[in-house]
Amino acid sequence: MGFQEKSAWACLIAIVAVYVPYFWVVFQYPMAFGLFVVAAIILAVLLTAFHLVNALATRSIRKTGDVPPLDELDRMLELRAAKLSGVVLAIVVMGWSLVAMFGVPALAISELVQASTPDGVVPSVQLSIPVVQALTAIHALFAGFVIANIAYYGNLIVGYRRLAHG
């Protein structure tokens, strides 16, 4: 297994290891947004550690001290993975935007209907989105970004497995 493939594995494992527990917590407790910083620090530490181990385990780096540069196969696999990741991210962002565009007015109409009197008079109401719901929506959008990253590294690994290892 080459350096680039090991790096892709390291990134995938680190992202899954950090963000699966992260989202498990924040979707139950949406106010725990401070965990974002903790997760980012843990991810940085894990990636640094993985990279060091990967560098030590790679013979060419031990010999020359240089990280092997990307060659044309690496770049092709990266482009394919980036394309898939872009599609995933676009679907998530589009889906999230559609839900927001139709969901927020629907919520407003529902509040107006609930506030209206039996004879159909609609009083002046203060329309608002609960903080918890807004934070959950933000967490969902961020989850989409993380899923797009998982798709990127997953596709990269599948590409290496298929092309380089048969």
Partner: protein, 70 residues
């Protein structure tokens, strides 16, 4: 258009060139060993530039190393 196949003799030529290792060939043409493996298995078709560099490494014309079967 049907499926295109480009065959190559990289593995054979490596052995004829004093049992050159995949790593040696990779280092000399600026690619990784994984790419040499993919090329030899026919799972990856190189760019024109890389194909020329590989042919140059074996001291042969391009068509002696890569054969096109359309």
């Amino acid at each position: 258009m049907g499926k295109v196949a480009i065959h190559n003799r990289i593995r054979e030529l490596r052995f004829k060139a004093g049992e050159m290792t995949q790593q040696t060939l990779a280092d000399s043409v600026g690619i990784t060993r994984q790419t040499v493996i993919a090329l030899e298995k026919g799972k990856y078709y190189p760019s024109l530039e890389l194909a020329f560099r590989i042919a140059q490494k074996f001291g042969m014309p391009l068509e002696e190393v890569f054969q096109f079967e359309g």
